[in-house]
Symmetry: none
Subunit: 204 residues, 4 copies
Amino acid sequence: MSKIEQNKNHKRTALLNTAFELFISKGLNRTSISDIVERAGVAKGTFYLYFKDKYDIHNRLIARKTAAIFRQAADELESRGDINSVEDKIIFMADFVIDFLNRDKTLLTFISKNLSWGIFKNVLISSKEETDIDFREVFLKLFESSEVAYKNPEVLIFMIIEFVSSTTYSSVLYSEPLGIDELKPYIDTSIRQIIRGQEVSSQL
Amino acid sequence: MSKIEQNKNHKRTALLNTAFELFISKGLNRTSISDIVERAGVAKGTFYLYFKDKYDIHNRLIARKTAAIFRQAADELESRGDINSVEDKIIFMADFVIDFLNRDKTLLTFISKNLSWGIFKNVLISSKEETDIDFREVFLKLFESSEVAYKNPEVLIFMIIEFVSSTTYSSVLYSEPLGIDELKPYIDTSIRQIIRGQEVSSQL
Amino acid sequence: MSKIEQNKNHKRTALLNTAFELFISKGLNRTSISDIVERAGVAKGTFYLYFKDKYDIHNRLIARKTAAIFRQAADELESRGDINSVEDKIIFMADFVIDFLNRDKTLLTFISKNLSWGIFKNVLISSKEETDIDFREVFLKLFESSEVAYKNPEVLIFMIIEFVSSTTYSSVLYSEPLGIDELKPYIDTSIRQIIRGQEVSSQL
Amino acid sequence: MSKIEQNKNHKRTALLNTAFELFISKGLNRTSISDIVERAGVAKGTFYLYFKDKYDIHNRLIARKTAAIFRQAADELESRGDINSVEDKIIFMADFVIDFLNRDKTLLTFISKNLSWGIFKNVLISSKEETDIDFREVFLKLFESSEVAYKNPEVLIFMIIEFVSSTTYSSVLYSEPLGIDELKPYIDTSIRQIIRGQEVSSQL
DNA sequence: TATGAATGAGATTTCATTCAT
DNA sequence: AATGAATGAAATCTCATTCAT
């Protein structure tokens, strides 16, 4: 990478990092591009060399942060060799994500309701800049070598992600209707139930 | 209601209706108070007599619209006398909401991800202006006179609302991962599974 | 006129006057709206209450200033009772305009090439704000009670205005091809020739 | 011309052509140097190797385009051998220019009010890059071998160019006060009248 | 010659809010 | 209760120009 390329990347990263800091501390609406460039130490015009507007950089950050969480969850799962059933694997990942977001509430606020299936569509059409993983692949791999067959793995994953993220959001940030520690057993039970509802054998 | 009262309400209603039109056509961020008052045909200062700011009127509209949907679903359920089990009642209401939002996609866009448990909190603390129903009551009533006992009805309702609204949103608006017609059987199956997972008898 | 109306007019006039000063001293391109409002002593937003943008206020000024010149020329002609033939009346007005612009070169620069037939169209469609005269009327009145008939008075006036303004512009501002004092006899001769070319009797 | 010279000229030409396209489609004010270089496929810095600024390239284009029209008119006149009197020659050239601009209205918009005597001054001081003809020469040649003498040929040409261009502009682009087909007889008559007004013999 | 990333002043425009009427 | 003119801070975005490569 040439010196110029390095410098470009450096500026772009500085903008992303600064924008993230400001978005989580002040929120999207109250963060201005002026705020971002000032704190990032670049000129205002430079922002527009890399991003279309405030919402563009916001979307890219969402993709970035979401991808990072799932990547960690997948890595962690792999490093553990003892989890075999699809059910257990999904529960493991769900719990990982819940714990992660519970620990980093500002991140949860930032990702907000955007931790959803939609993100994968966006991530996949995004120019591989922000993430370099095909998450659809990652998740569907969970089902390989499973003894149990499932009606539609993609739909199953979709439902679980939506379920986990929306319940976690309310619980972690507002303790509604229960705090996350109390709610988690309900979530886990429900995930297992959703999965079992999709077993092909159970339909026989 | 006196003539003055009527006129007062007339302006307030005009503002609410206009704001709704603009929010669904342009979005919250790109709708200004100037836009609203101009189209509503009232003076700028008048806005501040009724609402604190843009977000205030937005919140009240969310509560209003959400309440309207649930009220209709509950009425419909009641008018039918043939649905008895908790499971069937909940499925009925879920399907009602899904169909409703599928028919009125702009409403879905507006309510967006706000059709969630959080809304009940807001509705309950809201000054009864926008809604006049205690929805917690409505839902918990579903469980009365049920032969089956459930671990925590409130948590159960919470989980189902979050599940239905987040999956419907993605499916109806983006057909991801499937269109709503194809997805609905999965949603229904999962709801039943979630409910069954909470049956106290099943835990014995 | 109410106090508010007076104040409105005062602001609008202040903006017009200030804009004119700046346009003639710095030119249209290098005058910013910030410049105008600052010097006019009004808030930036106020500008947008009265004018769409820089070009809007510019057009209105052109109309205003052009109208003022013609109004003066017409008044002057009327106050003199001794000029009777159409030819002499037109020559009188042309000379009046030439002298006027020669004395006020900044005004000539400002009006620039815009002193043309087009302005009448614009003036006439403008909401009578900037001018209150129907100039088409004024000019066509010159031909009333003329002993000589002309093929198409409107076309004749059009040709003369275009001829006078474009030749004057070059001569007064750049002394090209001659200074105005030397050029004027040529202009006058040509005007008379153009007029004579339109006499209906001359066509017999 | 060496290959480097060719390439150099190639970029310069690309810039000129692109600038012309943009000027006629967006206008001078709303065309930026960024627009030009982007569409021309050259780097921003390169622009400054050939032109001082936006106005520089604009002026050169005006000179270029104007020169091209007059060159064609002069060529056409020469190729016809049957037009002898000064009057007929001038009418021929005027009609040629009018027809040309009527056919190419975007060119007329671009040249706008700049088709005037001023252009010759600029053309003559321009570094012979854009045009390689001395138009003053061309026009004055019309008077050579004329049986009739004229008071001041240069002034005569000046007046006719200003007259033709300003009246054509209004007529072709706005049909004011008449469309060009109807107006042309008036223009022609007036030109002949202006010329005759300058005949020295007529002064005797 | 040619490039194009970076600059940053500054232009345009919006808009929530106030307050005299 | 209602108005709407006025405000002016602040946001977005542009763009001519420079300069290291």
